[in-house]
């Protein structure tokens, strides 16, 4: 199905091509089908659809694709094939006989390709972006133009490498449009040599740059070099503009190659190339001044929307040529990113890749999860996220290096030696390893997709918990003093892992709930139930975390790793770990918000939304269906939610200010996180919210029922999921 001008049936001047006639044979005879076609034309009325027993109306409707030239005869395009476009001079080689114009146009093409590439990364199809370039679609014919040829070749190789990364990540997000390359000439012979081809061109231009610098200093030219273009005053500027663009491509290609190396071995080299890329991007941005000035145009003026530094339209692009290859019909109307925005996109991409390359490959799952969550806060795009995913999960191991069982045993606070235990061959333990791997992959996807996957994922974690619990009971149900040492050890391992599975399940649930705020899924009238559920989950999470830490301390002590109890040890044992205290702060905030929302609803009917068709109970069922199905947490249901909140009043709020407790805890626990700037920043936000809400609560309790002009709103202004209460007199 590759495009072939001959099969299109249209020619340059619009007359039907004279096809070679097919002779009749012994078993075939020509017959005039015109009457049949005539009858067919009147067989259906305007607007009717063919349908039948095996092809219903839905199938018929779905089969139709508007704006697909094969089906939609009304669709008109400038050119009906790539060859037709080329024959009409849409992509001339050389671009111009005037070498200065040729260079200017080449730069425009390079800039526009960058803009197309950024648009592709942002979620449009390759066919309508990068491969809207006619030069790229017929790369071989650019061979006489070394500059264009080398640039196009490295672009093609780069696109192929990026598609490969996203395909291997295989997260199947909505962005699967990104990896569709059907019918596009992505595989080029000799593309593996793209770097050396580029280097040769870079070399030539570098020598030319040196030559014109020497000429400007009135020094003798070392070689008899042919200038790039005909205006000697512009030669230096053009050389520089071209060099930074070529070098950017070179370093970017190197980044991809380095990051592809297994077990993160290429990360340090990648960082060097990232730094070089950033430098080249700065030079590219600076070159815009020269490029615009050499047209004699003012450097002010509105070129913000343009896809090139010069502000001119590039030669050689036609997005409609590939419309039959484009996966979507009708094809999306794409707005190619402006050149300015494209550069900004690449700056961000490079920054995100740098964060990934700087990561220490921490073998502790908890730290890794926090890193991924933190990384996602900057809303990295698909290319960065795919790279992260491939770094984390390779060959069924963490970073391609750590077996999942050892990751689990570390996370479950088991002793180092446990990672070699035979228990790792247990079927349930193997499945648990798969779940950890899938969790890491899911956490690298976009927030919308991630939340949906996490919700469904909870069922898998619930099932594995049940399986492990069953295994524990069946195999070790009768552990006694006669049991072997090994059986005792096995039992301990299972117990630790079970505890960790519970903790992890609540962590996933917590993430599922708070993503709802980020994605704006909750209306204010639903905040009460959401905070209530969050409160329930946080309590369980804190409980399991504390239990895990206590058990691990206990185990360590019993193994004789701890010397006899010093007063410090005893104090540490009874002290709540900072991680748990942190959670307690969140618990108080969630509880405070639940009660305040409940009181506002009960006292002054605020944020109630009785619809004509259903009640709060249906909304509760919908929001928490996946959690309820996985029994997370057990015994937390709509009736218990109602029971907890029905009696909330301003008077009850006045008796106990949860926000004050949250504020106090946030202050106290700060010192434990002095080496953790991210946690400190978050504690600052929590403290801020607690302080505001405490004051607002005091005001509401004093005035609430009495002052009808009091307006209360809940804004996510200081924290991504704990709302700040804003109480004003209107």
């Amino acid at each position: 199905m590759a495009d072939n001008a001959v099969s299109e049936g249209a020619s340059m001047d619009g007359h039907p091509l004279k096809l070679a006639s097919i002779p009749a044979t012994d078993s075939t005879v020509w017959t005039d089908a015109s009457p049949l076609l005539q009858a067919a034309c009147t067989g259906l009325r305007d607007g009717e659809l063919i349908h039948g027993d095996n092809f219903n109306l839905f199938a018929a409707m779905s089969a139709l694709e508007i704006m697909d030239p094969k089906m939609d005869s009304g669709i008109v395009r400038t050119y009906y094939s790539i060859d037709e476009a080329i024959e009409h001079g849409a992509a001339p080689i050389p671009i111009s006989l005037d070498s200065t114009i040729d260079v200017q146009c080449t730069i425009d093409i390079m800039d526009h390709l960058l803009a197309c590439e950024a648009a592709w990364h942002k979620g449009h199809s390759l066919a309508q972006t990068v491969f809207s370039c006619i030069y790229l679609l017929r790369l071989d014919r650019t061979a006489p133009h070394a500059l264009l040829h080398s640039y196009c070749r490295i672009i093609r190789a780069t696109c192929k490498a990026v598609v490969s990364v996203a395909s291997n990540a295989r997260t199947h997000e909505e962005e699967d449009l990104f990896t569709m390359t059907y019918g596009l000439p992505l595989n080029g012979d000799g593309d593996d040599k793209c770097l050396s081809i580029l280097n040769a061109v870079e070399d030539t231009i570098s020598r030319q740059l040196r030559a014109c610098k020497a000429a400007s200093l009135k020094r003798r030219l070392p070689e008899d070099l042919e200038p790039l273009q005909s205006n000697p005053n512009l030669e230096e500027g053009f050389c520089k503009a071209l060099l930074c663009r070529l070098c950017f491509r070179k370093h970017f290609f190197h980044i991809l190659a380095c990051m592809k190396r297994p077990q993160g071995r290429g990360l340090e080299s990648a960082r060097k190339h990232i730094s070089s890329c950033m430098t080249e991007l700065e030079s590219i941005q600076k070159s815009a001044y020269f490029i615009r000035s050499c047209f004699g145009e003012s450097c002010e003026g509105d070129i913000d929307d343009k896809t090139t530094a010069s502000g001119r339209e590039p030669i050689g692009f036609d997005a409609m040529l590939n419309s039959r290859l484009s996966a979507l019909m009708p094809p999306r109307t794409i707005k190619i990113l402006s050149w300015k925005k494209a550069v900004e996109y690449f700056v961000k991409l490079l920054h995100d890749l740098d964060v990934i390359c700087s990561y220490s490959l921490d073998p502790h799952l908890e730290s890794l999860l926090r890193f991924v969550v933190q990384f996602q806060k900057s809303q990295p795009d698909l290319v960065a996220r795919s790279h992260l995913q491939l770094l984390l999960v390779q060959d069924g191991k963490l970073y391609g290096r750590d077996p999942l069982f050892s990751v689990i045993t570390k996370a479950a606070a088991l002793l180092e030696a446990t990672k070699n235990h035979d228990i790792q061959k247990n079927e349930s333990i193997l499945q648990l390893g798969m779940l950890v791997m899938n969790l890491l992959k899911i956490l690298c996807t976009n927030a919308a997709w991630q939340r949906r996957k996490l919700g469904k994922f909870l069922q898998d974690w619930h099932v594995i918990y049940v399986q492990l619990e069953l295994a524990l009971r069946n195999e070790f149900g009768e552990v006694s003093s006669r049991s072997s040492n090994d059986e005792n050890v096995c039992m301990k391992i299972f117990q630790h892992i079970l505890l960790w599975v519970e903790e992890q399940t609540y962590w996933i649930t917590f993430r599922f709930l708070i993503l709802g705020f980020e994605l704006e899924l909750y209306s204010t009238s639903e905040y009460c139930m959401v905070y209530w559920y969050l409160y329930a989950v946080l309590i369980k999470l804190a409980e399991k975390t504390q239990l895990k830490m206590a058990v691990s301390y206990d185990t360590a002590k019993r193994k004789g790793k701890k010397k006899k109890d010093s007063p410090k040890d005893l104090a540490r044992e009874s002290r709540i770990p900072p991680a748990v205290t942190f959670l307690q702060c969140c618990i108080f905030l969630a509880e405070g918000l639940t009660m305040m929302l409940a009181a506002l609803r009960n006292e002054i009917s605020l944020f109630q939304s009785p619809g004509p068709f259903n009640t709060e109970q249906e909304k509760f069922a919908q929001h928490f269906e996946l959690l309820q199905r996985a029994c997370i947490p057990d015994h937390f249901s709509y009736p218990s939610y109602k029971e907890s909140t029905t009696h909330a009043r301003f008077s009850t709020l006045a008796m106990y200010n949860y926000f004050k407790d949250a504020q106090r805890i946030a202050k106290e626990v700060k010192s434990s996180f002095s080496n953790d700037p991210e946690r400190l920043a978050e504690l600052q936000k929590l403290e801020h919210v607690a302080e505001h809400n405490s004051a607002a609560q005091d005001l509401i309790c004093r005035l609430g029922a009495l002052d009808p002009s009091l307006k209360v709103s809940f804004e996510l202004s200081h924290h991504p999921f704990f709302a700040t209460v804003v109480a004003k007199r209107s």
Binding site: G47, E173, A448, W449, R451
Partner: protein, 179 residues
């Protein structure tokens, strides 16, 4: 194309007549409204698919003989749930903000409920504050966010309304909003 001034039409709510889809003569009215106002392009076959198979779920609003709004829906089995789907809802600009869309949708939903649907669903652009408020008031929640759902790259919310399980009729619960 349209008038540059966004003049509001003057009318009393009682002047709006609501009718169920009545046949082919209504189809061009629906099509012209939807083509004019909604961002996704549909073929005539898409419209026919909906109104031929579920005529009882589509409604039109008329003011003095002029069609000013329409809703087009379907229902069917989806993964063991019988559910309704709101495909298109349009009210022309001068008539917005007066409850016409709410009334059109309400009629459709009531029909779905009476036909045994367990839930109703639709997608709406995350930026469409008007639609989100309308459906929110009717009891829909934002069940999911769909990344880059629309042709113009905008995200969508999947909105869902879950009916309570069938039980002895509670008149207060199911009364229409204008009683």
């Amino acid at each position: 194309m349209e008038a540059m001034t966004e003049e509001k039409a003057e009318f009393e709510e009682e002047e709006i007549k609501y009718v169920s889809y009545g046949g082919e003569h209504h189809l061009p009215l629906i099509m012209s409204l939807v083509d004019q106002e909604l961002s996704e392009p549909y073929s005539i076959f898409t419209y026919r698919y909906f109104v031929y198979l579920w005529p009882q779920l589509s409604f039109l609003a008329f003011h003095k003989g002029k069609c000013v709004g329409t809703v087009v829906c379907k229902m069917g089995e989806h993964r063991n749930t019988f559910r309704g789907y709101i495909a298109m809802l349009v009210v022309i600009k001068p008539y917005r903000g007066r409850g016409i869309a709410t009334e059109l949708v309400t009629r459709s939903i009531r029909m779905m409920m009476e036909s045994g649907c367990e839930e109703v669903t639709l997608e709406a652009e995350v930026t469409n504050k008007g639609a989100l408020a309308l459906y929110g008031r009717l009891g829909f929640i934002r069940a999911k966010r769909l990344f880059h759902y629309y042709l113009n790259g905008v995200d969508a919310f999947r909105l869902k309304l879950l009916f309570p399980p069938p039980s002895p009729p509670d008149q207060e619960l199911y009364s229409s909003p204008d009683t």
